[in-house]
């Protein structure tokens, strides 16, 4: 005799609706990212602090009004912070804690786990955009209205490309190594990857390389969209597409569940 009513565990397996699984996955992962203190520091507080300091302090020579050229770079930084660094670290520790295996053992299709993560990454970027754009407007930002649709497209493309690279890094290595590497890459790309400084302000030879990095491509194209209202050229779009495709292709091959 057990203390359970007969029939409570009678089997009735059936897969839940896919839309609900996608919604639950995306909502859960976005919520986890937004209430993790270290993630919020990385994705919101640091970009916010840089937005204010780069605008207010005249450390780097920039055309007036300074906030107009700072804001697009900060948006590029925000995308890199959440979609790449945040994503990689979260994935590294998710694997450490066995959640990928846990979810892979359920009726959730594998592709849905990827879609859920992508949607969560996009949702976090939307939150970042709202907060950072509001702060930039308070600092006097007036983006070129004509360039806003281009900027949104670039941000979406950048999120997917950086997300794929984050999944590549976070999916294959040990959590501690992911943590160190993701932060190092973030810092390196911020300083010399075309985010904090425009390519032209970097030491000779670097400027050509920076245009080929996802960070440089995103920051430069966002700047021309939001400052000059220009459509992005084919180069930054192609650079982001190539990094994204290469990252995703490799990540699929190298990802380990635990």
């Amino acid at each position: 005799m057990t203390s359970f009513e007969a029939g409570v565990f009678t089997p009735a397996p059936a897969r839940g609706p896919l839309w609900r699984m996608v919604a639950v996955q995306a909502r859960t992962e976005a919520a986890l990212a937004l209430r993790n203190g270290e993630q919020v520091l990385l994705t919101l507080l640091i970009p916010l602090a840089l937005l204010v300091t780069m605008t207010v302090l005249r450390l780097i020579p920039l055309p007036e009004p300074r906030v107009d050229s700072v804001a697009p770079r900060i948006l590029a930084l925000a995308v890199m912070s959440s979609a790449f660094t945040g994503q990689a670290i979260a994935l590294g520790f998710d694997r450490r804690y066995g959640v990928l295996k846990r979810l892979a053992a359920t009726a959730v299709p594998r592709w849905l786990l990827v879609v859920g993560r992508m949607l969560a990454a996009v949702a976090v970027v939307v939150v970042q955009l709202v907060v950072l754009c509001a702060a930039a407007v308070l600092l006097g930002w007036t983006p070129a209205v004509r360039g806003i649709p281009f900027a949104l497209g670039l941000i979406l493309l950048g999120t997917l490309a950086f997300g794929a690279l984050g999944a590549l890094l976070g999916g294959a290595l040990r959590a501690e190594i992911v943590l160190a590497a993701a932060n190092f890459v973030w810092f390196a790309l911020l300083l010399v990857g075309g985010i904090a400084l425009p390519a032209g302000a970097l030491p000779g030879g670097l400027d050509a390389v920076v245009g080929l990095l996802p960070s440089g491509a995103l920051a430069e194209s966002l700047r021309s969209a939001l400052v000059d209202g220009m459509a992005p050229g084919w180069q930054p779009v192609l650079v982001l597409l190539c990094w994204g495709a290469a990252g995703a292709g490799l990540a699929v091959k190298t990802i380990r569940l635990s």
């Binding site: 089997p11 839940g16 990928l100 053992a105 359920t106």
Partner: protein, 312 residues
């Protein structure tokens, strides 16, 4: 449904799984009947988890055939995972997720899941429902993991070391749950290195060591089938001449003083042997106390088969 009543829910034959040059599982056969509980019993590193992960479709077998609910776990993994519940060894959840949220995430995979709040209560997790996973104790993680395995109303569950790290009360609860699953027609394949767990829960036990099944059968069969493997234990004053006692018995009986004053006669223990032993003691002027004829425990079976302690 591709399976019909009567077909086994898990059928493994000749399974070989190697990691590099080391074979973790070596020509293993396994059969779980519908509605039954099978315990895969063996020491750490015996190949239990590997076997279970092959059945779940996480690992591809190197040789042999594996059918779970009539499906190939690797090829038909998506269809299979809808119907099974899995408790991976050591659990699994997002580090920052609250216990209750994790259970609801897994519940969302099923069209008609069990009520997560009820399941949390059953497993004593209501008070910890809002605690992040990384701050749960080992036993709490295990209970959450079990809840995740059951919430989708599966017809077959794989429980890898379900009571590892649990206190005795929680172990009782898990035993009770497994009994309830069985009563409701859920098939269970569990692994354990604890004899009492296998003896209490399982209809069938497969003892596995170094990737091989060294014995298989019901607990009853494993421990009583062999009339040569009964044991007579008794207590008397320490230092009796066991050699002299053995000489009065048939050749297939062994006599040992396993600790001072505690004697064990192993072999073909029949009524005649009991009578000879008590008579011999009477001749020595000692009273044989606590005379007990018992079949082997699973632990004895394991020890006899492998020469090693199971818990070691």
């Amino acid at each position: 449904m591709t399976t019909h009543l009567g077909a086994p829910v898990v059928e493994v034959s000749g399974l070989v799984k190697r990691f590099g040059r080391k074979s973790a599982v070596n020509r293993l056969d396994l059969r779980v009947e519908r509605g039954q509980v099978l315990a895969l019993l063996g020491p750490n590193g015996a190949g239990k988890t590997t076997t279970v992960e092959v059945c779940e479709g996480f690992l591809r077998p190197d040789q042999g055939t594996v059918r779970v609910l009539g499906l190939d776990p690797v090829r038909d993994g998506a269809a299979l995972r809808v119907r099974i519940g899995v408790m991976p060894q050591g659990g699994g959840a997002y580090p920052g997720i609250r216990a209750g949220e994790m259970l609801r995430v897994v519940a969302s995979c099923a069209a008609d899941p069990l009520d997560p709040a009820w399941l949390l209560e059953v497993l004593g997790l209501t008070a910890t429902a809002r605690v992040p996973y990384k701050r749960l104790s080992g036993g709490q993680r295990q209970r959450l993991s079990l809840a995740c395995a059951l919430v989708t109303r599966p017809e077959l569950v794989f429980l890898d070391e379900p009571t590892a790290g649990m206190d005795p009360q929680a172990r009782r609860l898990v035993w009770d749950l497994v009994a309830a699953l069985r009563a409701d027609g859920v098939s269970v394949l569990l692994t354990t290195h604890m004899m009492d767990e296998a003896e209490t829960l399982a209809d069938q036990v497969v003892i596995i060591d170094n990737g091989r099944a060294v014995a298989a059968g019901s607990t009853h069969q494993l421990t009583t089938d062999d009339p040569d493997a009964r044991r007579l234990r008794f207590r008397a004053r320490a230092g009796l001449d066991t050699g002299a006692l053995a000489a009065t018995l048939t050749d297939d009986c062994r006599v040992d003083e396993i600790e001072p004053g505690s004697y064990l006669v192993a072999g073909r223990v029949d009524p005649q042997v009991v009578s000879v032993v008590t008579a011999w003691c009477a001749e020595q002027g000692v009273l044989a106390e606590e005379i007990r004829v018992a079949t082997r425990s699973l632990e004895d079976v394991f020890l006899d088969l492998t020469g090693r302690e199971l818990r070691a």
